[in-house]
């Protein structure tokens, strides 16, 4: 790891760019990620947001942000980012904007926008080498509209559209798209996964990304008390469990070259993570669905068997 100013939790910057009083649920993992991410980015930021829970942060006439905010249609946040980036560049070039007032353009969307309707727009922006950040706050479903399945919902999860039934006792049967790999396949300067439980890891990654020009993409696991069926107080614990079970690998890819930034020395069984969430409750009650739990464990084991230590 190159020289970093983030060594311990004591190094977390004290300045707040996201203040209290948003309408997001108590214990929202996405809110915590945005707050911490913003600390590492600094204040000169314009967020470009596609419809999702996060949109409700800044509902007229209120905003929790001490930075700028631009709201786009759900499929087109990266296209909106292109427009803003171009406008800022042109204004600076023409001498109409002091370069000191330049802003970092940061797309923020949920997993639904990122993996479904907004995937083409993101792909286009990465392909064009747009100088921007993309933060996907992944609560593994369409949270804002009532927790319907997205293509980042994991196998076995119950959502409003993948309720466990006698035909589909496991709930969601489709695999989670590998958005990290989809992004990485474009070979952008920087792609990373982050978790609100591993704060120093997160800040170091943002710090590293800041040194690159071009697309810098972050996929953050964001526990959602409302949709996952956990207590608000448990949300950071759940993010930590996802890392410790190996379900959520912490990694980065610089120009496509992957490094794992945290390799759990002894992985906890996935069951520890699954059994505490209502969205997986049908895997345990009324009868335990050993096959599905074993399948989830197998996929995690296979993933890590390929990771070099």
């Amino acid at each position: 790891m190159s020289i970093t100013k983030y060594r311990t939790l004591k190094d977390v910057p004290k300045e707040e760019f996201l203040v209290a009083g948003t309408p997001l649920c108590a214990g929202c993992g996405a809110l915590l990620v945005i707050r911490l991410f913003h600390k590492a980015l600094g204040g000169n930021v314009v967020w470009v947001n596609a419809a999702g829970c996060v949109t409700l942060m800044a509902t007229f006439p209120y905003t929790p942000l001490r930075s700028s905010w631009f709201y786009t249609a759900m499929p087109s946040a990266p296209a909106g980012a292109q427009g803003i980036r171009d406008a800022l560049d042109i204004l600076i070039k023409k001498g109409k904007l002091d370069p000191a007032e330049n802003l970092k353009v940061v797309v923020i969307t949920g997993d639904g926008a990122a993996s479904d309707i907004g995937l083409q727009s993101a792909s286009g922006a990465i392909h064009r080498g747009l100088d921007f950040f993309y933060l996907c706050v992944d609560n593994e479903a369409y949270g804002n509209t009532g927790f319907q399945a997205s293509s980042l919902s994991p196998i076995g999860s119950g959502t409003a559209t993948t309720k466990p039934t006698h035909l589909y006792p496991a709930g969601n049967v489709l695999p989670k798209k590998d958005l990290f790999e989809i992004w990485r396949s474009h070979r952008p300067p920087y792609v990373a996964t982050i978790s609100p439980s591993h704060v120093v890891d997160m800040l170091r990654k943002v710090e590293k990304a800041l040194s690159f020009k071009g697309p810098k993409l972050f996929l953050a696991l964001c526990p959602c008390p409302t949709g996952w069926g956990i207590e608000p107080s448990e949300s950071v614990q759940l993010a930590r469990l996802a890392v410790e079970t190996g379900i959520w690998p912490l990694k980065e890819a610089v120009y496509g070259e992957v490094t794992h930034t945290h390799i759990p020395s002894k992985r906890r069984p996935v069951e520890d993570y699954l059994k505490v969430q209502r969205r997986f409750a049908h895997l345990f009650k009324p009868i335990k669905n050993e096959a599905v739990i074993a399948e989830i464990q197998k996929q995690v084991d296979e993933y890590w068997s390929k990771v070099e230590r």
Binding site: V12, A20, G21, T22, G29, P61, L65, P232, V236
Partner: protein, 243 residues
């Protein structure tokens, strides 16, 4: 919700409600919610609150308050209010019998896949809420909703937020969401700052010695800080400031 003996053809927003039920008293003064807007003389206002609510009443409305959060905690052990608020509405209207209420709580919660014991707890909660208020029937009242454009008027004396001030959500007192309040025990706290880092709401700041200070105006009571504190130095108490 609209109730009528005749077929209901009207759709869309209800601008002139006869009954307004408010789950938390702080909402009364929130300019983006404005629950009192459009209430006519003689209409009924219910507020979930343990204290009498002081409102500058624009109209002569019947105001009733009860602490149904306390009842929910007693019966369910959590602040889940849907059955409780539904029960209060049924009773206030004077139109829905206790049996119909119980039947629909059972039916709707079963549809959501709730376990039988939890449904039963909700039924008990609904029953107690039902008996805790009197009916204020508006039946027979000559009640004609107006269809005029509704005047937009900000309630309370706080005025509108300044649009140009960044970070103005701080004006929204999300502290009223709390059911349990986090309280730092300075004797156990080592000023490690971990609670400050993990508070999703930026509601914890650190004083000069590094000890956490909680902003109770906005703290939602998620209790992430309580769980994350390695010293277990953050206790919880049943909320009293806002309830």
């Amino acid at each position: 919700m609209r109730l009528s003996d005749a077929p209901i053809l009207e759709r869309g927003h209800i601008f002139n409600p006869s009954y307004v039920l408010v789950t938390a008293p702080s909402l009364l003064f929130d300019p983006t919610v404005k629950p009192l807007e459009g209430m006519a003389d003689g209409s009924v206002l219910f507020v979930n609150s343990s204290k009498e609510v002081q409102i500058v009443q624009p109209k002569k409305v019947h105001t009733i308050y009860r602490d149904i959060t306390e009842l929910a905690l007693k019966h369910i052990g959590r602040d889940i209010l849907s059955a409780a608020m539904g029960a209060v509405a049924c009773k206030l209207s004077g139109l829905i019998s206790l049996q119909s209420l119980v039947d629909s709580v059972e039916e709707e919660l079963a549809e959501l896949g709730l376990a039988a014991d939890l449904i039963e707890k909700n039924v008990q909660l609904a029953k107690e809420c039902y008996s805790s208020v009197e009916s204020i029937s508006l039946r027979g009242l000559d009640y004609k909703p107006s269809h005029k454009v509704v005047e937009v008027q900000y309630m309370g004396e706080r005025g509108i937020p300044d649009l140009l001030s960044m970070g103005n959500t701080i004006l929204r007192k999300t502290g009223s969401w709390r059911v349990f309040t986090p309280i730092v025990d300075k004797n156990l706290c080592t000023a490690c700052g971990i609670c400050y880092i993990y508070c999703p709401e930026a509601c914890i700041s650190l004083d000069e010695q590094g000890y956490p200070v909680i902003n109770y105006n906005n703290c939602k009571g998620c209790l992430v800080c309580t769980v994350e504190c390695p010293r277990r130095a953050i206790k919880t108490e049943r909320e009293t400031i806002w309830s």
